[in-house]
Symmetry: C2
Subunit: 165 residues, 2 copies
């Protein structure tokens, strides 16, 4: 089975898939009468006319690695952001938007503990992996009552796996 390399998460490398949400460099401006620094518009929410943007909390259990990538999904109508509340790295598996996706088109990234991510609409992604600890995330995405999720399953022969060593 092919092994998927896990790269450090950077804005440049993640750009084809979405945004990295992190307070890097100088603040954009101050708010709150100068009492707070704002790092502005680190991600832009993509939303269709029928969708509603909602804010949810997600509590993820610890998942030991290695992990076998047997399924990916995409949300064609809207972006989806996960921003951690805990200073702990997590791992994402992504593939470029498009009708077809295969394990050979996937990339994996590990965050540095201070980063969140925003999948652009249509970006293929695997499970959000939290190998080090239970983690809490703030999620910004689309109210899903009308359906906005497509999945592709890989057979055991096709599937790849990832590990951190």
């Amino acid at each position: 089975m092919n092994k998927l390399a896990v790269s450090p998460l950077t804005q440049d490398d993640f750009a084809p898939f979405g945004d990295v949400i992190e307070a890097r460099g100088e603040p954009s401006f101050t708010i709150n009468n100068g009492l707070a620094d704002r790092f502005h518009a680190l991600a832009r929410v993509q939303m269709d006319d029928q969708g509603e943007t909602v804010i949810s909390l997600v509590h993820s259990r610890r998942q030991p690695l290695p992990h076998q990538v047997t399924v990916v999904e995409r949300h064609p109508l809207a972006s989806q952001a996960f921003i951690p509340c805990d200073d702990t790295p997590f791992v994402v598996v992504v593939g470029k938007a498009g009708e077809s996706i295969s394990p050979s088109g996937l990339q994996a990234f590990i965050s540095n503990g201070a980063q969140g991510i925003n999948y652009h609409a249509g970006t293929w992604h695997g499970l959000l992996l939290t190998p080090y600890a239970e983690m809490r995330f703030i999620c910004v995405d689309r109210e899903s009552a009308t359906g906005n999720c497509e999945q592709r399953f890989f057979s055991d022969v096709q599937a790849c796996f990832l590990d951190l060593d």
Copy 2:
């Protein structure tokens, strides 16, 4: 000068002003192939047709109390959420949406450390106060290039103050 009482932040008491974002009770459902619990749609983003929802990070400096409330503002076109990454209480000052606002119409709330808030469009609010420590927030609001902020200033005679004792 009148003193503004500071009440514990609860969904019921804050409902006229916005949403309390917290993981209370049972999760709404699981996601991520059962690996994560989701507390769904704790806040809904309100956005006009011309606006764009953006995700920003805000770093707030510690502000010792007492605090004098001399200005409030509102964003008529969109909601504005602040969700803390640190398990530290913060204080908000709010007034009901409407053209007029006076210090006698204000209420103050202190969070329990695990709560965020989402001001509904039009809710008057004072400065976001972080009296205990520097704090990091995730902010979800409207790209402001076209203007979406009105302010009202109170004279020293009108102004009220708040403290935690």
